[in-house]
């Protein structure tokens, strides 16, 4: 398993965690651009066809960044039939910012958050690591 995203929080130089987290947060967008994931734009319209996933993670959490790695590794499984877009929950100032990323979703204060649309209809939304994982497994984005 590659650990491109997870490695952003490696700390061999014993950097103060707050500084390390800020560095990781700043690096995530460029790493996303280099991957098969897409950066989710707040307020973006949901496509009316196909499987569309919006996943928000807290980029200060290695466990949640690993989700990105696992999804990237699984690209062959989902690349031709789903679109996976991601955003940084820790970059949101308040819950309204989160809701702008996840329209029609009952947002909770639990990370990560995922919402899945099929042909433009919201078919699942979950929060918390285990439930988010299960939702992504159900649509074959994770194995």
């Amino acid at each position: 398993v590659i650990e491109i995203f997870r490695k952003l929080l490696d700390n061999p130089g014993r950097t103060t965690p707050g500084i390390l987290q800020e560095s990781a947060r700043n690096s995530v967008p460029s790493v996303v651009r280099a991957s098969h994931l897409k950066a989710h734009v707040s307020g973006a319209c949901v496509p009316t066809s196909g499987t569309y996933t919006v996943l928000g993670v807290a980029t200060y959490s290695p466990l949640e960044l690993e989700l990105f790695d696992e999804i990237e590794v699984s690209y062959q499984r989902w690349g031709d039939r789903a679109e996976v877009t991601v955003f940084d929950l820790s970059g949101c100032d308040d819950i309204r910012d989160v809701m702008d990323h996840l329209p029609s979703v009952a947002v909770t204060k639990q990370t990560p958050l995922v919402a899945i649309w099929a042909d433009g209809k919201l078919v699942n939304s979950q929060s918390g690591f285990r439930m988010t994982r299960e939702a992504l497994e159900r649509i074959g984005v994770l194995k």
């Binding site: 965690p17 707050g18 987290q21 200060y60 959490s61 949640e64 100032d93 204060k109």
Partner: protein
């Protein structure tokens, strides 16, 4: 596990730890926001507060890695 091991659990304000200066031997944080101020998920942990309570020579582990030694 904490109950089994009879380790006391204190639920407290993470921005004002209820411990005197230089009294804690090890601090462990995991997947927690540090030095981000108030976030929509709640207050982050000020690293200054962790450093305040750590005893000299003692260690702060973040995400399983040694992040700071006082």
């Amino acid at each position: 596990l904490l109950t089994y091991a009879k380790i006391p659990v204190i639920i407290c304000d993470n921005t004002a730890l209820p411990f005197p200066d230089l009294t804690i031997d090890v601090v462990v944080t995991n997947g927690a926001p540090i030095d981000r101020g108030d976030t929509w998920l709640g207050p982050s942990i000020p690293s200054a507060e962790i450093k305040r309570v750590l005893r000299p020579g003692c260690v702060w582990y973040d995400n399983g890695l040694q992040a700071f030694t006082k």
